[in-house]
Subunit: 206 residues, 2 copies
């Protein structure tokens, strides 16, 4: 189990295969058009976590990473995919589909609570505590602290296990199909964010 830090792209030959990929991003903030993509975390669930750092002024060419993210045969696992999809679409020019989103899965199965944060899911479903302390830190600096690297890696560390658990729960509650429909719409929801409808519920009456 190691955390690898790469600059600007994945090295050749890493994360090849067909397994699902856990993916997360860190940016300069929540305004995707303004706040650049600083880091992308990715793991195939085998134990290693890869952090790819993009410097200021990056051209986000990243051919290896983009090929893997866009691979139609590999499921991408996210927590709150909407945000990461938008950043990946905007900066890396690729749609990271097909996908599974643990926040939507949680909304559709954990109807007994309104707490659907990653920290809560990892705690309740896997019995593990993760720290969210570095969440709002400066991801754009020239060096990442050990605490930042730990945090970034831990954001993808549990997604395979959460996914396995939510697949069971969605099936148990008869909601796998509606979940899939939501996942399939998420790239479009992310595109609406980029196109200028970030706040509105486009499906609301008014």
């Amino acid at each position: 189990m190691s955390v690898f830090l790469h600059e600007e792209d994945l090295p050749d030959g890493v994360l090849e295969g067909t397994s699902a990929l856990a993916v997360d991003t860190e940016t300069m903030g929540l305004n995707t058009l303004r706040d650049r993509l600083c880091l992308l975390q990715i793991s195939d669930g085998g134990g290693d976590e890869h952090l790819i750092r993009f410097g200021p002024g990056s051209n986000y060419a990243a051919p290896n990473l983009r090929r893997i993210l866009g691979d139609p045969n590999r499921l991408k696992l996210f927590h709150f995919a909407r945000f990461d999809l938008a950043a990946i679409e905007h900066y890396l020019k690729v749609t990271a589909a097909p996908l599974f989103c643990t926040k939507i899965a949680s909304r559709l199965t954990r109807t007994f609570t309104d707490r659907h944060g990653l920290k809560e899911l990892v705690k309740e479903l896997l019995g593990t505590d993760i720290s969210k302390q570095q969440q709002s830190s400066d991801w754009g600096g020239p060096v990442l602290s050990e605490a930042q690297k730990d945090y970034a890696a831990s954001d993808v560390r549990f997604l395979h296990r959460l996914h396995a658990e939510f697949v069971i729960r969605l099936e148990r509650e008869g909601r796998s199909e509606i979940a899939q429909a939501c996942f399939d719409f998420l790239p479009h929801r992310a595109r609406l964010d980029l196109m200028g409808w970030p706040e509105d519920d486009i499906f609301a009456h008014s």
Copy 2:
């Protein structure tokens, strides 16, 4: 141009063909599981409007209507399709797709306003005034008043013309594809309403 009132189903041989169908519904209220479907209005844009009335205790068998609504080769035109789709799904047990929703088309093109009601669309795009006075009336009674029939019919009268105009505007603004993605998700959004997620934006962070 006539308005026809039918009981419990469309007569045989009516509205056959391949043209798009304007569809609207009137119910006892906005809570679809509680408030029964009283009336379905449908028109092929040829000038006639058909109102199908369902009595209290109706079994909603309506084989002719259900076949036409579920026809995968006929586009269904709605204003705020989400609501009508849920009522049609729940009572008539059919998914009225493929579809076009003029409220979503308006949100995606009329970015200069936040008024996306049918009355505003008909006024601005077609220069016609429609009355919304009968909107909140009792659609479940044994006879519909002339005012109710007029109102119900006028709710489908302008959808073909609005559709034609919005197709042009969506294309002009480069938003046809995102609109189609939204339309394709609407039956799922309506199903979420029926399954118990009527208020929440399922795609929101929290």
